[in-house]
């Protein structure tokens, strides 16, 4: 059966607009987890890549994609996982980064590039220089590399004294 181009784009648009349950200002397209959306008649196959191995939001994302497509009249939905290549914070779209900045997040810099040889230990060096998303000060300090969700680190600003989240480079 021939599928009209509008159907494909519509299913793609629906999937792209599903919100990330843990950072509900970002869509799944902003987050960069959608690998493909294939439509054949009433059937849609969506392939996504998990952000972190243990991210509990993945199950919710799958549920939400399925429900949104069902609501739009796609009766049969399959959601596949693609593990390789692994998700990188580099995959967050420009629009996604802009939304994060507006919401007061510190956005990730470029993900670490793998060089040859063993992975280096980071013992004392600051892992990154970042600016306070509230006041722009460079006088910030890491509170913890692990925050409210797997993808965020906790920082505080020593000038305006506000705590803030930094989306980690991975």
């Amino acid at each position: 059966m021939t599928v009209a181009a509008t159907t494909v784009s519509s299913a793609q648009e629906i999937v792209a607009s599903v919100m990330d349950p843990e950072m509900p200002l970002l869509t799944l397209a902003d987050l960069g987890v959608i690998r493909s959306v294939d439509v054949e008649a009433n059937f849609v196959c969506v392939t996504i890549t998990p952000t972190y191995s243990g991210c509990p939001a993945m199950a919710t994302m799958r549920d939400d994609i399925e429900h949104k497509l069902n609501d739009a009249g796609y009766g049969s939905v399959q959601i596949k996982t693609q593990l390789s290549p692994p998700w990188s914070s580099d995959w967050i779209s420009e629009e996604g980064l802009a939304k994060l900045r507006t919401a007061g997040y510190s956005v990730p810099g470029a993900a670490p590039r793998r060089t040859s040889g063993p992975i280096a230990l980071t013992l004392t060096a600051k892992p990154r220089d970042i600016l306070c998303p509230q006041c722009g000060s460079a006088n910030t300090r890491l509170s913890s590399e692990f925050g409210a969700t797997l993808c965020k680190a906790l920082y505080r600003c020593l000038d305006c004294l506000e705590p803030f989240d930094h989306v980690k480079e991975i």
Partner: protein, 305 residues
């Protein structure tokens, strides 16, 4: 209904799914992943290898979760729980991979049980079926003990996973590729704490020295290859753990030097009749850990969450 606009919307959701934060259905962590194995690979060995690596992560994550509500600071509680969550993610994939490679490793519960394979492996095996190294099952002890153990475990696992990224099993390679990014954060976290404690006060130094004495007898077991590891390393699927020892030793020496700590004298806890954790022979600590971890699932074997 699924826009997460209101926490109460889900309570009136007609399908009954919305009231649970992450749904009520079990989902296959390997859904849609190509689990085809190269023809020359021994499936039983692959399944046992995935159980080894999965059990290491599962048992570690249970120990890390025990810190919830009792870590020295809220930030550390969150950090230890985050590390545990990464590891449980790795464990789910590896246990699911074990079941896909050889379904005979999965314990039978009942004909009607809705429990997926990776949960059956986690909650319905007794301690003799677990293949984790004994290092990960030891009781938490104090915070110094926990970060020294995490340093040893993350350093070993990162070096191993780094080599496993080129495994001929596409699932193992993908799990390793993902895991390397996570383990790099775990190792840095533990290493920084060991330096802080070791080069800190007299009391923190004393506790770190005690932790090293308690943990080091369980280090050598990480590098003793099982028959399965040797067989799989031969065909490019697994890694011979002996090959990661130089990297492990170099990282530990670097951290201990920065922490102003001496490496404790080599003392291997040894095996019992030639058997250790990989052969299902564990310390008494594992049985207690499993009794707590498995109690709810075993109480409700037909349960759906």
């Amino acid at each position: 209904m699924n826009d997460h606009d209101s926490a109460y919307d889900g309570l009136v959701d007609g399908d009954g799914h919305g009231q649970w934060a992450f749904g009520t259905s079990f989902d296959d962590p390997l859904a849609g992943v190509d689990t085809t194995v190269p023809g020359d690979v021994d499936l039983g060995a692959l399944a046992r290898y995935c159980l080894m690596l999965g059990d290491d992560a599962l048992v570690s994550s249970q120990r890390l979760a025990e810190w919830s509500t009792r870590a020295p600071e809220l930030e550390e509680e969150v950090a230890l729980a985050n590390v545990g969550l990464d590891l449980i993610g790795q464990a789910r994939l590896l246990l699911a991979r074990a079941a896909a490679a050889d379904s005979t490793v999965v314990p039978f519960i009942s004909d009607t049980s809705p429990v997926p394979a990776e949960d059956a492996l986690a909650f319905f095996r007794d301690q003799f079926g677990f293949r984790n190294v004994r290092l990960v099952e030891l009781a938490n002890g104090d915070f110094a003990h926990t970060v020294v153990r995490l340093l040893v475990f993350a350093t070993w696992r990162l070096a191993l996973f780094d080599r496993l990224r080129t495994s001929r099993d596409p699932v193992l390679a993908a799990v390793a590729n993902k895991g390397v990014k996570e383990l790099t954060y775990h190792r840095d976290y533990a290493a920084r704490w060991v330096v802080t404690l070791g080069a800190g006060t007299a009391e923190s130094k004393r506790r770190t020295a005690d932790a090293l004495l308690e943990i080091f007898p369980f280090v050598d077991e990480l590098f003793v290859p099982t028959q399965d590891e040797l067989v799989l390393a031969e065909v490019g699927v697994g890694v011979d753990p002996r090959t990661v020892r130089p990297e492990f030793d170099a990282v530990l020496a670097q951290v201990l030097h920065a922490a102003e700590m001496e490496e404790p004298p080599a003392r291997f806890s040894g095996f019992v009749g030639g058997r250790g954790g990989r052969a299902g022979l564990h310390t008494g600590a594992l049985g207690l850990l499993l009794a707590e971890m498995q109690s709810v699932a075993r109480e409700h074997p037909e349960g759906v969450w």
